[in-house]
Amino acid sequence: MNRRTRLWLVAAGGGGLAVLLVAACLELPAFGGASHPYGDRAVRASLSRHTANTIASVNFDQRAYDTLGEMTILFAAVLGCVVLLRQTRDEHRARPEPEEVAPPVRRYALVVLPVALLTGLYVIAHGQLSPGGGFQGGVVAATALHLLYLGADYRALERIRPVGRYEVGDAVAASAYVITGLACLIGGTAFLANTVLPYGTFNTLSSGGTVPLLNAAIGMEVACAVVVLLARFLDQAVEIEEESGK
């Protein structure tokens, strides 16, 4: 197939897609209307279970099974990354060289690291009350640890980051989600059904039944997964070198 034919093919496909999209958009409900059938039902369900943040209720209660799937996708993606980016036989590790960092930047990293870690934990713990939740907080907490690479050097990060333990933590958190689901099945009505725990007082940390537990599991899973993922990328970019002559 020559270049001209390929271009025509792309133009035909793109044109068809554009026509369909425009046709679909013309039939959409108007922007910012007052009728929200799904939203009204989701809010009602979340309020009946004392969950202040409706999004958390949708993610970890009404559609908790979806979140299990999403967590599995992240888990599988990180697993694939670990396998693909492992150190192969024709590669060796070079010791990373220390980096000279300006003192203000280093001090900033050392001060902001615990603050960012605490903020990540805060976002995880208040997932059912305010915007945020396990995923967002987990990413913030994992990012906080990598300030040590940015503000110092890779050797400093390696001293406080035993990757093996984070891999175990990732698996433990993923299992914790499934085990909570099974507990709901045994003690309640169905897999991941939020009927086991009391719903608590509205707008407090213990409200929402199993939502805070699932939030915490996801937070730990995401934080560990991001740390492991970045560890593989950092290893490749900083330490692992191909043997010369290959």
């Binding site: 910012g32 943040n53 999004i55 958390a56 976002v123 915007p131 945020g132 939740g133 995923f135 967002q136 990413v139 913030v140 990012t143 990598h146 991001v226 993922l229 970045l230 990328f233 950092l234 490749q236 970019a237 070198e241 191909e242 010369s244 002559g245």
Partner: protein
């Protein structure tokens, strides 16, 4: 007039997304992508979706640039090594 801030956020997203496609060098693309992440977060906020905005901020501000730049560094190092051996 009431939706001025929504229009501004939409224009910022459209502009930065177009720029992210138009810029060709991966390093500069990562910079535009970081700005696109911030613009998207603002758009989600003005559309009253703070949870999605928080996800976008968490992932787009540090994680994506770091993964991209580490990959660029790895590829460049391999290129340098190949260049030295030839």
């Amino acid at each position: 007039m009431a939706d001025a801030v929504i229009v501004v956020a939409l224009l910022l997203v459209a502009g930065s997304a177009t720029a992210a496609v138009a810029v060709r060098d991966p390093v500069r693309q990562a910079l535009v992508l970081a700005v696109l992440g911030v613009a998207l977060a603002v758009l989600f906020t003005v559309l009253q979706a703070p949870d999605v905005a928080l996800s976008q901020l968490a992932v787009g501000s540090v994680l994506t640039p770091l993964l991209l730049l580490l990959t660029v560094r790895k590829v460049k190092r391999r290129g340098q090594r190949k260049g030295r051996e030839q």
